[in-house]
Amino acid sequence: MANLALDHLTKEFGGGSDRIVAVDDVSLDIDDGEFLVLVGPSGCGKSTTLRMIAGLETTTDGEIRLGERRINDREAKNRDIAMVFQSYALYPHMTVRENMSFGLEESTDLGDDEINQRVEDAATTMGIDDLIDRRPGELSGGQQQRVALGRSIVRDPSVFLLDEPLSNLDAKLRSQMRTELQRIQEDLGVTTVYVTHDQTEAMTMGDRIAILDGGQLQQVGTPLECYHEPANQFVAGFIGEPSMNFFETTVEDGRLVGVARSVRESQGDSRSPSEAQSASEDATEQSSGERSDPRVGDGFEYPLAEETQESIDDTDRVTLGVRPEDIELVDAAESDHDFRTVVDVVEPVGSGNNIYLAFEGHEEAASELDMEESRTFVATIGGLQRVEAGQPAIARFPEDAIHLFDTETGDALRNRKLDDVETVEPQL
């Protein structure tokens, strides 16, 4: 058992003009026994980081320390690290028992009896003791996954690396293995680095999560810190499903003024189904100017309280972010944080409804196909609340729930109030 430290870790591929920086100055401290999830979109450098820790990839710059000892130059086999691969990487010509004992035979001088004992214990832990004499080809995907995990835990390594281990499983099995992995990790108390592109896995599994984008570390924190106090707009958009709604605005006299449309973050998962429909011509944007209500005309206005204005300082281009679950549907527009909208699409998910709202006067353009911008924004409401497409609704963005980001840099200027979070998440 040991703590793992990454110190200004950098990896460059190629040289000269086609040099690619895959991992850019990443520093991370992973405590002994901690479960850290590295998460980010594909190509963000998370797998490369993991492979550098494992010793499968050399480092260009920076240091990897395990228990205060530098391991950069140690060979993979001498690092006391076990890794589970996305493809499981089982040896197809060996039985489960042989697969699991291979590492012990090669890296230790234990006797056959001892090896057998440990293999059987690990197999029991993983619930594969009755498959021990079969070959990988005879096993289902889930069973192979267990063998791959068993093969790693049997060696009792200091660090456990997992590279998208659940992505080849079906959804049901994946959520089941998620819980099981957490239980096993807790029982073994091994320092674990888990790589995934799935923010749900990151949120549910990690003690802490580290979000990478473009090779750079965006934020490290507990799942709820990253959720409620994102360091920047990327993290805010990446963590959470459906994604946070963003509105690009400019600051004018203590008000946020913008166009009545939300901005898409790079992650396109929560795209409204209506976008799949054929695009209609953008004819309404200018024609709605004659409306009297200032907040539903061609502009979008959001007055800020004194305290909030201070956090913005003198940034003039600000992106307003609000999580779908923080948007309230109210009966009447009472405050200047309420907006008249029309329900565009309703997605029932059982426990709740994801509803896609378009600002009133912009509903015809809501179905416009555009990856960057959407005329709709998402709100989640209780599953028993009846909402139908086409009906008008008044959406409230409570001021203590909004996030503000610098549009230029993406940095968070103000995050939602956390004393509120404590009431939302009493377990913390």
Partner: protein, 307 residues
């Protein structure tokens, strides 16, 4: 045509096949024709080898001999003449085949699954080796073995030992020549197989603590079995049937080191004309070992060709 249509057409064809289906009859006729086309020469050879001199002249080549025209004498003579050459050929073919496969496999492993600088350059040399024609190396090889490395002379102290004979030196030369000549193609065959092996699996083995050699012995080698069958069959056939190296290094069918192909080339030749039954019998006998090798490795061969 929809799936349903195809289904009815299919079952219609099946019903018709109970009676007369012209398409099917045509197919079988074509197949039988091809079968005859390929088997006729072999049948002719076999039939000829069993005929007396008289029957060869009197009957058509592919017609089996009558009772009075039947004899096994040619087979006995051929076997008698060839047995010496077959022993010699087996003595260098078997080790050469096995060594080719082993060297080819290890070379391909080193060039494909182990990462080191400059391996492409080395690989190019291997590939170039495939394209060197036999004719181009005959003279250098014979000069090499006779002027520079005269194995028969160098190993002369060994020939006093029991079992070992001086002409084995020549067989050793043949064996080494064949190994050297066979390695490039064997390497290429193994390389194509190794490129399909998952790199993640080899990385897992590295993390499991296995060294480069251990990964070869415990993972890559067991997974290369089908390709070994392909290379063994291919190389055995190549080396067994090879004539040019034997001719240049052994030179005479009367030499004690004569290979089966060398003896075969001159068998049944006389002033009075060619002894066809004897030549046919000898050719069939000489082909038996390669046929046996194919039969022995059929399953692995099929699997290896598939991958």
């Amino acid at each position: 045509m929809t799936a349903a249509d195809a289904g009815t057409a299919d079952s219609g064809a099946r019903e018709a096949s109970d009676g007369f289906d012209p398409w099917r009859i045509g197919l079988y006729a074509a197949l039988v024709g091809l079968l005859l086309f390929y088997l006729a020469p072999i049948e002719t050879g076999l039939v000829t080898s069993l005929k007396t001199d008289g029957a060869v002249v009197e009957t058509l080549p592919y017609v089996p001999p009558g009772l009075d025209g039947f004899t096994l004498a040619s087979w006995a003579t051929a076997l008698d003449a060839l047995v010496r050459g077959m022993v010699n050929s087996l003595l260098f073919t078997i080790p050469a085949t096995i060594l080719c496969a082993i060297f080819g496999s290890t070379a391909a492993y080193g060039l494909t699954l182990v990462d080191w600088r400059g391996q492409i350059g080395v690989l190019v040399l291997f590939i170039a080796g495939i394209f060197i024609p036999y004719q181009a190396v005959i003279v250098p090889i014979s000069r090499f073995w006779s002027n520079y490395v005269d194995l028969v002379g160098l190993l002369s102290p060994l020939w006093g030992l029991p079992v070992l004979k001086p002409h084995w030196g020549t067989l050793l030369e043949l064996m080494i020549t064949h190994v050297a000549y066979g390695i490039p193609i064997a390497t290429l065959l193994f390389r194509s197989h190794y490129q399909t092996i998952s790199t993640e699996m080899l990385e897992a083995a590295r993390l499991d603590g296995a060294s480069v050699t251990k990964i070869y012995y415990r993972i890559v080698l067991p997974l290369s079995r089908p390709m070994f069958a392909v290379v063994l069959i291919f190389q055995f056939t190549q080396i067994w049937n090879e004539f040019l190296f034997s001719l240049t290094l052994v030179s005479s069918a009367s030499s004690p080191a004569a290979s089966v192909t060398l003896i075969l080339s001159g068998i049944g030749e006389a002033q009075s004309g060619l002894d066809f039954p004897l030549r046919m019998a000898a050719a069939l006998i000489a082909a038996i070992p390669t046929i046996l090798v194919y039969v022995l490795f059929t399953d692995e061969f099929a699997e290896g060709v598939r991958t």
